[in-house]
Symmetry: C2
Subunit: 408 residues, 2 copies
């Protein structure tokens, strides 16, 4: 191991170092840092890094004192071999310098800004977050929803993602997504359009816009009170592995995850799975069955892995507390005979529109007794939708609706 010219005992630096050493989601790193603290874990690693015998001895000494959860001596030995190649030119001060030049902040566990939700990730909780924009927002978002979906989205998906995001923003719900093309971008933009806050979780470093075409969008998010963050230090390239691991952060930072459009196999489904594993609710937006871009959403619905959501109210209900945040009942135009007893409705249906029909004819028509028809007519007359006409009865247009063209 080459010299590490930075202060290993500075916890912030040590956490930054761990985020550079270990790939996202490395449970061995998480367990080690949780057991020793980031600085002592670094000291230990520096001592352990060497030939097989050195590693073995360091691990033996360690496991004697700390029962490492979710890992074992064997796995730790493999992990040391993985971290080793990166120990050489490790210097987190460099990455922190880049972050600060962008106005960013490193947010670490145990500080007030740390998002509690991330701790649900257990040993795969990231050692720190590299944050541009508002560093408080991710931790303050008690009400946040991940809107995720296909990069190859359709106009329909973009429209729905934007509308949902705007609706959520209007209800003071923070919109979390991955900053990708397609649904992600539409979600971030929808939140901004409604003057809401939105969080972008990148798979690579926050110094590089990925995809480059969304650079302006990421800047807007930062400028307009949102956050752009990553568990990977500046300079880190997004890789397939990091995208998958990033999805666990999206799920963990949100009260619930909604998939807007997703192909049969899509990264968005992995975010949904992560949310389920974290016991967070998952929603899926349906779409035309003729659209392959909705096949993943329908798959989630078919498997019972997601609740069908169609508007912002239903999304708020998804993440809301029981008894609060219930989606309002749909308003539908009441028809005059609605809410009446079925027998009374049967009499109303049997009433002619123009010429009155006598009681016995109405009884035969409706399949009711004359007494029942007489009673029903009383109700219908009271409601104002039946009137006497000659020796019988006919339908009447209720007073309030007399000029209503669509009444029937």
């Amino acid at each position: 191991m080459t010299a590490t010219p930075f202060d290993l005992d500075d916890e912030l630096l040590a956490r930054a170092a761990w985020s550079a050493l270990a790939e996202p989601g490395d449970a061995n790193a998480g367990a080690l840092v949780a057991a020793l603290g980031p600085s002592r874990a670094l000291h230990w690693l520096r001592a352990a890094d060497g030939d097989a015998e050195t590693v073995r001895r360091a691990i033996d000494a360690l496991v004697e004192r700390f029962p490492l959860p979710r890992t074992g001596a064997r796995a730790l030995s493999a992990a040391v071999a993985r971290w080793g190649p990166r120990l050489g030119d490790l210097d987190p001060r460099r990455e922190l310098q880049v972050l600060r030049s962008l106005g960013g902040v490193l947010v670490t566990p145990g500080t007030p800004w740390w998002p509690d939700g991330l701790d649900d990730l257990g040993a795969s909780t990231p050692p720190c977050l590299w944050v541009r924009g508002d560093p408080v927002l991710p931790g303050a978002s008690a009400r946040s929803v991940a809107l995720v979906g296909a990069r190859a989205s359709t106009a329909y998906g973009n429209h729905v993602a934007g509308d949902l995001a705007a609706g959520l923003a209007a209800r003071e719900v923070t919109v979390v997504s991955g900053g990708a093309y397609g649904i992600d971008a539409a979600a971030h933009r929808g939140a901004l359009r409604a003057d809401g806050t939105t969080i972008v979780l990148l798979a690579g470093g926050v110094d590089r816009a990925y995809p480059a075409g969304n650079a302006e969008l990421l800047s807007s998010v930062v400028e307009r009170g949102g956050s752009v963050l990553s568990e990977v230090p500046p300079g880190g390239a997004p890789s397939r592995w990091r995208f998958l691991q990033r999805n666990r952060l999206i799920a963990a930072l949100s009260r619930g995850t909604v998939v807007v459009e997703a192909a049969w196999r899509s990264g968005a489904l992995s975010t949904a799975n992560r949310a389920s594993e974290l016991m967070r609710p998952v929603g899926a937006v349906p779409g035309p069955v003729t659209s392959m871009a909705s096949a993943g959403c329908h798959r989630l619905l078919r498997d019972g892995a997601a609740v069908c959501v169609t508007d912002a109210d239903e999304v708020v209900e998804l993440i809301g507390e029981i008894g609060r945040d219930l989606a309002p009942d749909r308003r539908v135009d009441d028809r005059p005979a609605d809410g009446l007893d079925p027998d009374v409705r049967r009499v109303h249906d049997a009433l002619p529109i123009r010429l009155g029909a006598p009681l016995h004819q109405l009884a035969r028509e409706a399949g009711l007794s004359e007494a029942e028809v007489r009673g029903a007519l009383g109700t219908l007359e009271l409601v104002g939708i039946a009137v006497r006409h000659g020796p019988g009865w006919r339908k009447a247009t209720p007073q309030a609706r007399r000029h209503d063209v669509t009444d029937g």
Copy 2:
């Protein structure tokens, strides 16, 4: 009561008479006919019809001998008063004559053509079915699906209904629906298009096409091996009550019910509810959330009252036996690194495309040990997607895909 010039002891005539006397779904009629048989029930009714005292005495005599299920003396008394108005000009020979002139047949319980599924309706089992076209089909349809939905359907809904029906017909599944405009018509037409069989359940008599605009469609169904049927005698007008009751027959005649498009409040949802009550599976076809014509389907999905179905295979799986009729897995184009161990994939992702990278650089990039990278490269070389290049390794296009334009 006026004279009834027909033979009350002819069971066929007696059942036809009951279908004219009682409105669809009348559980009192069902219980009485089940207890006494249709003829004795008619004799009893003729004797009971009169003043309050006559009715009371007839009922007392009856309940002494028969414990009438799901009904009581009070309810039966009300029912007698309902049937009374229709006893006057009752003559089922007239309606049977009309049916026969149309080439139709009266199908009754206990005969081989009777659809077993209807018996699940208990006391509201219809006394008989007035059938045009193939009288055997409804009873023979062990594999049948109801495709129901909005009259005010969209082009999308009509397209999907037609496609589902054609797909079901191709799988020898009979398509059951209500003969209405919109989804119903599209379903019947789709089945005919694929040379399949389809059953139309009308709310009014089979002698009158309702709606009139579908007269030609109903004729086609009859001509092409399907059936048009009703529990209401010829001449019977469709009423709102009869539409609702007709829906229970659609549900009972089918192994499962699929709602293709339905507004937030729609008659099709009542068919779905009836199917659920009969423990038959219910499916719903999703659509754009921007389409009010799909709101009812999404409601069923949200409430967990229906399974999301998107094609004929999934519908067949819905009604199929467990372990048989599973919808085939979606085919997706495999990508070269699919199915590999995640660590191996990480190495593949870290490989450059043009110039080879040395082992130690790949290890740092992938966050793995050099030993792991070495092992992974062995696998990748074997699969044919990594090659040595100079002092290092790079990605390779697998042999079989060399000419594949979309490969990446």
